[in-house]
Amino acid sequence: MDEPLVRWDWIARNWDNGSPLAIRTLLENHVVMAFAPVLFGLLLALPIGLACARWRLLYQPATAVMNIVYAMPSLALFSILLSVTGLTQTTVIIPLTLFSLAVLIPAVVDGMTSVPDHVRQSAVAMGFRPLRRLLQVELPIATPVVLAGVRVATVASISLVSVGALIGQGGLGALFTDGWQRQFYTPIIVGIALIVLLAVGADLVLIALQRLLTPWSRARRSA
C-alpha cells in the first residue's frame, strides 16, 4: 500500500487555489445546484399540491406523471437536456427540480390530508375565510409532513448533483471523475465526505426549522 487513502496536503493545496477544480469552488457550485431545485420544487409543489388536495380527481393523474418522472435516471435526463440547455448549471437544475416535485407534491397533499376535519370545521365556524384558513390553520398543521418531504428532497438532491459530473456540471462530483481518471483516492474521498456532511448538515437545519415552525408539536409531547 504505497498510496495513502487520503493525502491531506493535497486537500490543503486544492482547497482554494483559484482553479475551476478548487474544492471550495466546487462546493459552492454544488450548493447552488442542490438547493435551487428544492426551492423551485417547493414553489411549484405548493400550488400543484394544494390543487390536488382540493380536487382529488387531479391527484391520480398527477401521481402517475410523478411516478414516471421519478423513474427517469438522472443521467438520462441530464444528457437529453444537454442538447437544449448546453453545459450550464440549468442542465442539472431542471431534472433535479422535477425529482423534487415528485417527492414534494405527495408531501403537500399528505400534509393537507393530515389536517383533521374537526379542525377545519372549527376554523370555518370561527369565521375563517378559505385563504386565511389555508394560511393560518391548514398550512401550519401540514408543515411537519411537508418538511419531511423537503428533507428527503434535499438529501436526494445533494447526492444526485454529483452525477452531473458525467456531463461536466457536477459540483463536488467533479472530484469523482477527476479521482477516477488519475486513479487517485483523495479527491473521491473528499467528495464523498463533503457531500455526506452537506446533506447531514442541511438535514439538521431542516429539523431545527421544523421545531421552530411547529412549537406546538413539542408542547404536546412534553405535556
Partner: protein, 220 residues
Amino acid sequence: MNWLIDFFGNPDNWSGSDGIPVRLLQHVEFSVLAFAIAALIALPLGLLIGHTGRGGVIVVLSANAARALPTLGLLVLVVLLIGVGTIWPVLIPLVALAIPPILVNTYEGIRGVDADLRDAAYGMGLRGPQVLFRALVPVALPLILLGLRLAAIQVVATATVAAYVGLGGLGRYIIDGLATKDYPSVFGGAVLVVLLALAVQFGFALLHRVIVSPGVRQVR
C-alpha cells in the same frame, strides 16, 4: 425524434455484444442482483426492528444518512480499490442505494400498524412470529411494497452510472454516446432505461394488486 429513429432503426444496434438485447440483459442482471441482496439484508432487519421496536431510531437515522452517499463517488472509489474483474464492486454502491428505502419503509410499515390490531392478534393466542407474519406484515404490505418499488427503480435508474467505470448495461449507450457526441445513442439509451424503469413500476403495481389483501387496499 429523428435521433430515436436513427438509434432504434439501426439494425447494428439490435445484434452483437453491444446490441440492445445484450445490454438490456446485462442491465437487468446487475439490477436484479443488487436489488435481491439489498432486499435480503433490509427486509428481515426492517421486520425485526419494526416488530421488537429496538434500535429503530438509530437504524432510521443511519439509513437517512446513507441516502446521502453519492453513488457515483462510491462506485468510483470501490472500483479503484477492488478493481473491475467481476461485477461485485459495482453491486456494492447499488446495494447501498437500495437498502435505505426498503429498510425504512418496512420498519415504518410494521411500526405503523394499529396497536389494537397487534393486541387483538396476541389476544387470539398468536405468538410473536405469528403475529408478525399473519397480522402485521399483511397490513404493512402496501408500505413495504412501496419501499421495494422505490429501491428497484433507483437501482435500475442508477445502474446506468456503472457504465462510467467500464461496465456494460444500458448506461453504455449514454456514456459512450456522450464521449463520442453520438446523440442518437445517448437519447436511445436514456429512453431504454426509462422504459425499463417504467416496466419495473408496472410490475410492482401488478404485484400490489395480486398480493395485497383487498381489505387492506380499501383502507389506504
